[in-house]
């Protein structure tokens, strides 16, 4: 009756069977009786299928528990407890569902997108119909992508498990394996950060997720550490951002680049001594920034209205862009002449 039943339908039948069973079902019973498992070609194929399905269900918040029947020796059976998977009693108005839909929108284009969408599906069950009212119409959130490290770090932080990952240090570029107790992940001002206890340095540290190379791996047991009460992860990130933040010294032609001027520091202090002199008639403005490429794109757009005095990395980035533009124009002329 169930030739090649799609996985979602097999899993659905498994959950229904394990919720309704009196006591438990053994693997043999599951294979013989639950729709979808009878097409497993061999015992091995069935075992693999069943293990994978249990994993999928656990990820969805439906734990399959193992029940050992004393009367049958070490003979194991399985069951799903509705108490273990049920959402606590709650009701959501349509306006509240609207807010949650907006919250889920945060994660568009991110690793957590499917988690947020699934959460919303679950919450719709306890939501009022219709969910059409959009309580916060006109507010659409957007975040910079956090990358693949976010999911594993959140899981580990929740379980209080130690993680290891390869990390490229911001200041020196040194690449090393780090062992960290993950306390909290913070997204702020376009960057994503992990705050935790660095076991090698025996001190709290802030890591930028974009500098993590390769996979984040949990090691050891859950509950391996506690987050100290006296730390302020937010303050640590703010301070780390200040350290990685830089100041661009720009010479701006009169009345030009209003957007850059508006971000200029009111009291930037004295410019570094090695700064070249600004072209005659320009104003020197100090603009804070974190990403060289982004500011270089913006400055290049003003062409000769803005000259970068420093730092050299920004200056070089702008010069490279301008040279590329000159080369492009020459190339295009060439092509046009045939």
């Amino acid at each position: 009756m169930s030739e090649n039943l799609p996985p979602a339908e097999r899993l659905l039948n498994l959950v229904i069977a394990l919720v309704n069973t009196t006591g438990r079902m053994t693997k043999e019973q599951i294979r013989a009786q639950v729709a979808g498992y009878d097409d497993a070609a061999s015992v091995d194929a069935f075992e693999r299928m069943f293990e994978r399905d249990k994993e999928t269900l656990r990820d969805l918040g439906v734990p399959v528990v193992t029940v050992t029947d004393v009367a049958h020796g070490d003979d194991q059976g399985y069951r799903v407890d509705t108490d273990a998977y049920a959402l606590p009693p709650m009701e959501l108005t349509s306006a509240q569902l609207g807010v949650l839909a907006l919250a889920a929108e945060f994660w568009q284009g991110q690793v957590l997108r499917s988690d947020a969408a699934r959460a919303l599906t679950k919450l719709r069950v306890v939501g009022a119909t219709p969910s059409a009212t959009d309580a916060v119409a006109g507010l659409a959130p957007r975040l910079h992508p956090a990358g693949p490290a976010l999911g594993p770090l959140l899981d580990a932080a929740h379980e209080r498990r130690v993680v290891t990952f390869t990390y490229r240090t911001a200041s020196t570029g040194e690449v090393r394996r780090r062992t960290v107790e993950p306390w909290r992940v913070i997204g702020s001002r376009g960057g994503w950060y992990l705050v935790g206890h660095d076991r090698d340095r025996a001190a709290p540290r802030v890591f930028r997720l974009s500098r993590i190379e390769g996979a984040v791996r949990p090691t050891g047991e859950p509950g391996a550490f506690t987050v100290p009460d006296d730390v302020d992860p937010r303050a640590m990130v703010t301070s780390a951002q200040r350290d990685e933040g830089r100041t661009a010294w720009l010479a701006i032609a009169p009345d030009r680049a209003g957007a850059l001027r508006s971000r200029g520091l009111v009291d930037p202090g004295p410019p570094p001594g090695d700064l070249p002199a600004p072209p005659a008639g320009t104003d020197v403005v100090a603009v804070p920034y974190t990403r060289t490429a982004e500011l270089a794109d913006e400055v290049t757009g003003y062409t000769d209205a803005v000259v970068v005095l420093g730092p050299a990395t920004l200056r070089d980035a702008v010069v490279r862009r301008l040279e590329a533009a000159v080369a492009m124009a020459a190339r295009v002329e060439e092509v046009a002449r045939g």
Partner: protein, 324 residues
């Protein structure tokens, strides 16, 4: 295109539990509630109808009122015990709670008291249901706009009224324009007002920190942002520019309102754009300098090259030019 197994399973279980709470729900309503098509709802109902406890005799199966379904209403008559909503997993809870917290903190000023109340109550309910799971993540949004600009934008969006903006763009021009505001895009680094610009006759995003002033006008908005398609309406006043690009600049055809895109055999592409301002075009071509192969009319590229040449001259001045 095919839906992933966890998503489908979550909805199938969710639908049974939902229908157990709501006796008799019109198919269309069910579809819009779970944000799927009517066709998908009917497929899901068919699947549920054939699912149940081992044996799979009629009494073992999840059941619906067939007559009711024929008249377009889904009425569950047997849930086989699947009446509970699923609790949220760790990542699921964290994702939503962190987003709600960030909204409450950053967008507070952009919301009226009733909206703030909805946000706060939702957060309370979710926090109560998920415990401390959400303490592991923290997201901060930045809404760096003048409070009066934000207030005007909020009022205009809520009342569907047009806005008059004074705006300084990336090309450094201060312009005045009338805009139909659609939504505020709240980001972790910058926030934007998205809407229809009547001056440019196109969809535009205005960075909030570059809006110098905003006034709510009497006129009602005449466009809406619901359509997901590019909404640029070409008109004869706009110069037509054709740019041939390397494949890695493909985002241009996805993010800009291009008139036409043609894929080239080597993976490159040719786009046709209507350009309302020289400054905008210069900015675009500068940004694409590495990827541009050909520009028609060629004068546009020449102008960009000339401007870049003048800019480079400033960098070639000897650094000891302190004689000024």
């Amino acid at each position: 295109m095919a839906e992933r197994t966890p998503e489908r399973l979550t909805r199938l279980l969710g639908m049974v539990a939902y229908l157990d709470r709501h006796p008799g729900v019109p198919v269309e309503e069910l579809a819009s509630h779970f944000e799927v098509s009517v066709e998908q709802v009917l497929k899901d109902v068919d699947t549920l109808w054939m699912s149940g406890t081992p044996g799979y005799w009629p009494d073992d199966l999840i059941d619906f009122d067939a007559g009711s379904l024929e008249s377009g209403v889904v009425r569950l008559t047997q849930a086989r015990g699947m009446v509970h909503a699923l609790r949220l997993g760790t990542r699921e809870a964290v994702a939503l709670v962190a987003a709600l917290r960030a909204l409450r903190e950053a967008a507070g000023e952009a919301l009226d008291p009733a909206q703030r109340e909805v946000l706060a109550s939702t957060l309370d309910i979710l926090t109560a249901a998920t415990g401390d799971a959400a303490a592991t993540m923290d997201v901060r949004l930045s809404v760096t706009a003048a409070p009066e600009v934000l207030a005007a934008a909020r009022t205009a969006i809520a009342e569907g009224r047009r806005l008059h903006l004074r705006y300084v763009d990336a090309a450094d021009r201060v312009t005045e324009r009338d805009v139909d505001p659609w939504r505020l895009l709240t980001g972790d680094e910058h926030s934007y007002l998205q809407g229809w610009c009547h001056a440019a006759r196109g969809e535009r995003q205005f960075r909030l920190d570059r809006i110098l002033a905003a006034d709510v006008l009497e006129e009602l908005v005449t466009t809406s942002g619901d359509a997901r398609e590019p909404t640029f309406v070409p008109n004869d006043e706009h110069a037509v520019v054709e740019i041939e690009l390397d494949g890695r600049a493909r985002w241009v055809s996805e993010q800009l309102p291009v008139d036409a895109t043609e894929d080239l055999p080597d993976g490159g592409l040719r786009v046709r754009l209507r350009v309302s301002s020289e400054a905008w075009l210069r900015h675009l071509v500068l940004r694409l300098a590495y990827d541009v192969r050909r520009v028609t009319p060629v004068a546009s590229a020449r102008a960009v090259g000339g401007a870049a040449e003048r800019a480079l001259a400033a960098y070639r001045t000897p650094p000891d030019g302190a004689l000024d």
